[in-house]
Symmetry: C2
Subunit: 131 residues, 2 copies
């Protein structure tokens, strides 16, 4: 069943579709990532946002390292079926690997980028990196 | 000045970057489209959302046919600088060429797509198509 729905989506020439991740409660855009057919189907099935990492070239269950999974509340498909919108509950309050709540924490002001807000967590601790 | 900012963005191998368009007032995701360097700079300069149409392969000032331009309120750049978020005031209330307020008017339910809401305008009239 889930497979059938994914077949209506128009994946690009790399087999990917952009997914906009929005906080289901307050509408904040948390991040944009990419899904391939398999990660879209896993997202539908498990109700946790799963992507395809272009840099690591593999499936990426959001939160697999940090524990900050995204519980899927609703999924929408756009008019051209080449983009999806996923409304989620973000566990851990932050979606960005930098520790900010949203990946879009830099605002264009006077033709430069200004950081807005403060990180919710310390990435060094969450990802258990050693220096 | 504007040019300098666009040079910090990571356009893909086709020279494009996805732009998420969000209603500045209520947070609705209206659409996702693509910008090249020129359309990003025009958006910054004119404060009206301008894209690059992949199908028509040319610059596309949103609203150039329908009059439904998107007045730019704020622009954010994500952590990887490969996606932008543009908060806008949507003139004419609808962003989608189908007449719906948002391009994301189809919701995944029971593994199929259900249309949500009703069109705000009649595309036949707005785009002056003849049958």
């Amino acid at each position: 069943m889930a497979k059938k729905l994914s077949e209506t989506l128009k994946f690009d020439d790399k087999g990917l579709i952009p997914a906009v991740i929005q906080d289901a409660d307050d509408g904040t855009i948390l991040m944009v990532a990419y899904m391939n057919k398999e990660s879209f189907e896993l997202t539908l099935k498990n109700k946790k946002a799963c992507f395809y990492s272009r840099s690591r070239q593999k499936l990426w269950l959001k939160g697999e390292s940090s524990g900050n999974v995204q519980k899927v509340k609703e999924i929408y498909v756009d008019c051209d079926a080449d983009c999806v919108l996923v409304k989620v509950k973000q566990i851990g309050d932050a979606a960005c690997h930098t520790g900010f709540r949203t990946c879009f924490y830099r605002k264009v002001e006077s033709n430069s980028l200004k950081t807005k807000g403060k990180p919710v967590f310390d990435p060094e601790k969450v990802y258990k990196k050693s220096k």
